[in-house]
Each structure stands twice: as structure tokens, then as C-alpha cells.
Symmetry: C2
Subunit: 336 residues, 2 copies
């Protein structure tokens, strides 16, 4: 059995390094094919391992990196200046082929920029989209692109659709993923200039199952498996999803606590309610892949807990076993 | 006391003409300063009035219009061809000054196109934005623009910010409305080309209280009173708001009904829960104004019930009494 080598940014996210170390150890325990490279400040990583009675070994390595890129730092500068940061060092492992994947809960901007500058794109891929899974009534959908490269062109969106289809089919097991483009109406003639230009390209593409436009209203229903949009719109959708879900849950809690009668009701109903709402929690699905790069880069929430890190590491197995990057490579090598 | 003359599209929406007639009669009952012009097929309106033991009188008039614009019709064609439709006839009343406002639950596209082509824009206004109120934890925010004119320019967004501020201040009573632009990060240098171009214009504008960028995540929290964005993004926000709210409520209902224990709990908690969730129901706020036109155009949900129609008609009073259009006119007449 081939091992899957995952470089993990030990310094990334609000709960680093503890949540990262904990999550990595759990992944190693759960999956024998995983090999982890913890990248970051050696003293802190050793301390974190010692606390958990763990140490380096055959499947767990420390890769020292003395610098840390902070969340608020301007990404391009940070990647260029902090050559010995955990993000740059981790991505270099990818580039060199010493790791199959890089998982980080650090600065999204730095990971996106570093992914392109340090790891580099697969030949033929014009942009590397960030593609989180979002919860729906029916399961999950892939929202592609939510990255930082705004003002995309039609040819980029077409690539997103194709890469997203491969991901949903081979990683998520959706047989013939339904691809839709985010639009302000269902009719073909609707939309802004970008959508109007992209629509016929998607329609003509033979290797995706294009079902047309999707209105934002229908996304939570699970009306498509791969939801294509440019990054500005994707960001708005992703963040509104997070914000509105948490606000509504707050509003509901307030409602449940507003009268004595409702409080008693809430106490009875809460366990079942929590179970259902858990399906709407993005954390359980691990991180968002940054597709089209040399190697897999997985960006997890800044507030990622150990469980998110574990799931993000484990999802790298399927990515390697299904040879997603090989498929993407062949897609663009063989030409359109 | 000056009467406020409101033309109402008797044929617009899924529940026309009954909900429209019912809503109009209620508005007349509640507010003595209202005068209603029901526009549409005379026979149907008369029948609807007769069912409710009502008839034409000093404050209630019928304006015959033989045609109806369907929801799915291409808007520009529909407005040009159906000269005797309730939407065109109603908007002509506005244009002629025979009505102060036009309320419709009909085709959004036709109302947007008709508003500009038939009623016309206030001199100096470059685009007429559709500006619905969306519910937040703290009350409501104005989302401007959610119309059909996509690919806006920076100067349009600046006008939206100024018109939206006047609306929130004088109609909604927010003393110094906080204006923010939808962006994918809080930092000034972030965003797509349009946002980067608009940001300094908003910052330099003296008659708005600009607080910078807003991420979609913070919208449900009520982090700004006037949320400025171009129509494609506004549409996505508005529709995701509707879709996600209803999906989450469904998910919660499923959760509450999943066990016997939770069912009992739900029965106890539901009345309080419904009360809280009602604040998140857009229907109670009436319709969305289409700002910057000669006269007020209010677009309500296609599924509008009588209560929505009533509220939409009533909101026209404040619009006239506060002389919103006069203020917008002077804003652009005095120059920037």
C-alpha cells in the first residue's frame, strides 16, 4: 500500500498548534496509509507532541519552519518575504514531490497566493479555484470558485466546472454530477456579461453534465452538485451561508428560551434538533481543496478544531488514490 | 391633509386579483389619507369588490387595463407590446402625475423595465435600483441594488448609497444610516475592480456615513443599514437569504419531528419559535422600492398575500410625506 504523505501547517489557524497536532495524531491513528509532516516551530511542535505522549516516528515527522504568516498580513508580501514560514516550507514539500498534499488552517490569502507561486499550477490550468463543500438539504454541493482571484473570465469558469465535476464524481461519489452556473434567473438569456459568455461554453462541453442556471435561492435545496461562479460571488455565497446559518440558529435559540413553556419544550427537543443541524455544519466535511495545483492543497477554517484537521488529512487519501491531479492533467493535455 | 394616490396592479402576482383587492381595501380602512386606483381587468375587479361588499367611491377607483403581463414574458418586449397591460397603464398614471405611487406583485423584470421606460428616471439619476429590506438580528437593512441592471459602474453604486441613505433615514427612521459596500474582506485594498473603484468614491462622499466594506457573513448580524452592491451580487444575497432561511426552517422542523420526545418538545416550543422567526419574514415589511423614478414604484413578492399589499400601500404615505423624490432630485440637481 502506497502511503499518502500529508504536510500539515502546524502554525495555521486560531487553535494552532494544539488542534493541529491533536488532529494529525487522530488521523494517523485512524488511517494506516497516512504519513504526516508537521511543519512549523520545532520547539512548539515537540512540546505539543510530548503533552500527548507522542513523538516523531516512521509515519510522523517534524519539518522545522521558524516563521509564521499572520492572518492579517498582505498575502503576496508575506509569501515573498517569509521564506521560512510554515506555509512556504509546506508548499515547497509539495512542489518537490516530498508530500502529496498540504493542509493548512492559516491565512486563506497566503495559501491561495502560495499555492500558485510556490506549488505551481498543473500545466494547462489557468487558475486554481478554491472549492468548499457546502451543506444542502440533500447532502453537499461543491461551490467553485471561492478563492481570491476575482474578475474571472469565461474560460476560467469552464475549467472550474470540469475540475469540480471530477472532484464530485471521484471524491464524493456522485455518479453524474449536475453542473450549474449561478445566475439571477433560470432563463438562458439572463445574467451579467460573464455568465452570458460562459453559459454556451458550459452547454457545449462534452465532459460535464450541465443543467443550466441556478438561482441562489435553490442552492440550499441541493439543486446542483457543482455550483460554478466567479470568486467574488462564491465568497458572498459561502460567507452568507455561514453568517445566516449561525444567525438563524441564534434567533431560534432566543425563541426557544423566550417563555417557560418553550424552555421546557426546548429541553425535550434539543438533542434531536442538534443532530439535524449538525448536517448543516461545514466542519464535518474537512477543508476546501484548492484544485489544479501540483499536489493537493486543502484550506480549512481558521477556527478549525482537531476533528476538522483530521477530516482534512483523511480526505487527501481519496484525492491521491483517485489520481485527481492526473485526471486534471490529462484533461488539459489532451486539449479541449 | 393631502391624499396619497396609489395605483395598484390588480393583476400582479400569484394571488391576484383577490389578495390585491383584499389588501387594498384593508389599506383604505387603516389609513384615511390613502386613495387607491385598482388597475386591471374591470370585470374581475368589480367581481372581487362585490364579493367583499365593496364598490368604487371617493377613495377607490377602477382604472381599466385589458392586458396582463405574465411572469415569464421577456420584459422589454412585454412592456413595448402590451400597452394596455396593468403594469404599463399603472406606470402611466405615475408619469402623468395622476398617482404618487405604483404597487405591483407582478413580473419583476417588467416592472423594472417599465419603471425606467414608462415612468422614467428623476433627472440626474443614472440607474433606478431595486432596494428590498432584509431582516437582520437588529431589525432590517436596505440591500441596494437587487434589480436587473447588472454590470453597474462605480458612479451608479455611489448614487445607490446616497439614495439608500435618504430612504433609511427618512422612511425607516435610522438617524445616521451606516453605509457599507459588499466585499470579500474588510481591508480597503481587497475586492474586484468595481469595488476598488467605488470604495474611494464612497469614502469621499460627504452626505453618507460610510463605514467601509462588509463581508456577506456580517449582513445577517445587521452590521450596516445600507448595503451597497451591484445587482448580480444583490440578487444572489437576496435569493440566498430567502432560500437558506426556508431550508433551515425545514431542517429544524424535520429535527423537531424526528423523535417522540422532540415532538412533544416542539408542541410546547412552537408558538414562541414562530413569534421569533416572524421577525425574519420579509413579508411584513411590504415591498421593495424602486428608487430614483418619477413617482414611487413598489415591487412586492410574486407570492404576496393581502397583508403584504396592505403594507406596501401604507409605506407610500411616508414616501410622499417625507418627499423622498424631492430630496433625491435636489441631491443631483445641486451637483455632486
Amino acid at each position: 500500500m502506497d502511503t499518502v504523505k500529508v504536510a500539515v501547517d502546524a502554525m495555521g489557524g486560531d487553535n494552532a498548534p494544539d488542534a493541529v497536532i491533536e488532529g494529525s495524531l487522530n488521523a494517523l491513528r485512524l488511517k494506516k496509509e497516512i504519513e504526516v509532516f508537521l511543519v512549523g516551530r520545532e520547539d512548539l511542535i515537540k512540546e505539543g507532541l510530548a503533552k500527548r505522549n507522542a513523538h516523531e516516528g516512521e509515519r510522523l515527522h517534524i519539518v522545522p519552519a521558524t516563521e509564521v504568516i499572520e492572518m492579517a498580513e498582505p498575502p503576496v508580501n508575506a509569501i515573498r518575504r517569509k521564506k521560512d514560514s510554515s506555509i512556504v516550507v509546506g508548499l515547497k514539500l509539495l512542489k518537490a514531490g516530498d508530500a502529496d498534499a498540504f493542509v493548512s488552517a492559516g491565512s486563506t490569502g497566503a495559501i491561495l497566493v502560495g499555492g500558485q507561486l510556490v506549488a505551481g499550477r498543473i500545466k494547462g490550468v489557468k487558475r486554481a479555484p478554491l472549492a468548499p463543500l457546502i451543506p444542502t438539504k440533500k447532502g453537499v454541493s461543491l461551490l467553485i470558485d471561492c478563492g481570491a482571484n476575482v474578475d474571472a473570465r469565461a474560460e476560467h469558469l469552464l475549467q472550474f466546472a470540469r475540475m469540480g465535476s471530477v472532484y464530485m464524481r471521484d471524491i464524493m461519489g456522485v455518479k453524474e454530477p449536475r453542473v450549474a452556473i449561478v445566475n439571477i434567473g433560470a432563463e438562458e438569456e439572463k445574467g451579467n456579461a460573464l455568465v452570458k459568455e460562459t453559459y454556451p461554453l458550459l452547454k457545449a462541453c462534452r465532459d460535464i453534465h450541465f443543467i443550466g442556471s441556478i438561482e441562489a435561492r435553490d442552492i440550499p435545496d441541493g439543486a446542483a452538485d457543482v455550483i460554478v461562479c466567479e470568486a467574488f460571488v462564491g465568497n458572498v455565497i459561502l460567507k452568507l451561508y455561514e453568517g445566516l446559518s449561525s444567525t438563524l440558529v441564534d434567533v431560534i435559540k432566543t425563541g426557544l428560551m423566550s417563555t417557560l413553556r418553550s424552555k421546557i419544550g426546548a429541553a425535550l427537543a434539543l438533542p434531536a434538533l442538534k443532530r439535524t443541524l449538525k448536517d448543516f455544519d461545514t466542519d464535518v466535511y474537512g477543508g476546501a481543496p484548492l484544485l489544479g495545483l501540483n499536489g493537493l492543497v486543502v484550506k480549512t477554517h481558521g477556527s478549525a478544531k482537531a476533528i476538522t484537521i483530521t477530516n482534512s488529512i483523511i480526505q487527501c487519501i481519496a484525492f491521491k488514490q483517485q489520481d485527481i491531479n492526473g485526471k486534471i492533467q490529462r484533461m488539459y493535455h489532451e486539449g479541449e
